[in-house]
Amino acid sequence: MKNFSFVNVENKADALEVLHREKEKSCLVAGATNVMPFIRYEKINDKTLINIRNLQELRFIREEEDKIEIGPLTTIYDLENSEIIEKYAPALREAAQDFADPTTRNSATIGGNIANASPAADTATPLLALNAVVVAESKSGVRKIPIQEFFLGVNKTALQCDELITVIEVPKNAANSNSCFIKLGLRNAMAISVVSVAAGVELAEGKVAHANVALGSVAPTPVRAKTVEAALVGKEFTPGLVEETAKLVTEDISPIDDVRASGEYRKTVAAVLVKRALKKSGKI
């Protein structure tokens, strides 16, 4: 097999110490469900694997007054079965239900999923629609990265090589509590999405007060459908409005042809999924 060294850490302080020491050679692993295939395909080599799987202090889902806090080592299984997530971020719960398969969900973590930053990452699309904030820590200190600035490209994030995600914050608000997620895949399990959509709308007297729409697998990173959102705000929320505005999503995406689908197909089906997600979120 391939070359790497392995260090086990038992607490956050040790993790930050090793990250500081190893710098670019650092490769954090918990569930390792992306890292392992990458090693076997030699996409990652000569790294120091830092095993943080046992850092129970980073595995939590907490409710605060104005937000919920999710630890990076929260497994996808935890997300699926959390009452807090169901209440305040249902899009995340729906993403967890469609994620890989039940066995993988026991090991895969939300921190790993976003740090790996595949444009198809199932938790990334909801977090983008939920306006999440990623809290990253290193030996030098703590900083907050808004999710819109977190994904920089395919497998590229704003994290520095010595940083560890310690919290993912999701604000509490009506749009987030109404959020939903739809994933289109070529099979029922272990599918990398062809297109995924997360949407959350808040209605006030039948009009759109807030609209958040995010898509995955249609660009190098998950994206917000800003044209769709702008066309929705302030308008009367009807099936007709949804039909019209969903079509505008083609302005916000740049899908490619790949083994799973053509760019043309993705453009067509993205509008359909946005329409379905908006209807689901707005309950019409």
């Binding site: 060294s5 392995f6 390792a32 392992m36 295939p37 076997r40 095993n51 398969d101 039940p102 272990m190």
Partner: protein, 156 residues
């Protein structure tokens, strides 16, 4: 590569092993411990033929480095029966003809066992959903689902 000393509990027995960092739990189970019930299928986490239980939860042994399993409790298919007495889900697989070539079977049985521990009365949909990562090329899944259904509390 520096070798690591690890201690894992497998089917109730504490085992101490010396492994390289890139040794897969799957290969350590099959080769060092000579427990060949756990199968090497795809090796990349897609088929679940390598399913074992870690702290009672199904995981893919081909996706876990042996060093990452240090200190953990592992159950392989060999650990399910109590001596000669098969676990109910094992007997059910036999009774329902849910085994053809047998390659997916250890993974299927362990995952089904974990499901029944979590949810003693699963519906057909819940069974199919829970097993959706375990691939079988022979049976078409019907007999497997029927076998697990027969173990549901309502059918006892």
């Amino acid at each position: 590569m520096t070798k690591h000393e690890i201690e894992i509990t497998v089917n109730g027995r504490k085992r101490r092993l010396t492994v390289k960092p890139n040794d897969l739990l799957l290969n350590v189970i099959r080769e060092d411990l000579v427990l060949t019930g756990t199968k090497y299928g795809c090796g990349i986490g897609e088929c679940a033929a390598c399913t074992v239980l870690m702290e009672g939860k199904p995981v893919l042994a081909c996706m876990i480095l042996a060093v990452a399993a240090h200190g953990k409790n592992i159950t392989t298919i060999e650990g399910l029966a109590d001596g000669d007495k098969l676990a109910p889900v094992q007997q059910a697989f036999i009774d329902h003809g849910a085994i053809q070539c047998g390659f997916c079977t250890p993974g299927m049985v362990l995952t089904s066992h974990a499901l029944l521990n979590e949810n003693p009365d699963p519906s057909e949909e819940e069974i199919r959903d829970y097993l959706r990562g375990n691939y079988c090329r022979c049976t078409g899944y019907t007999a497997i689902v029927k076998a697990v259904q027969s173990c549901a509390k309502k059918n006892q």
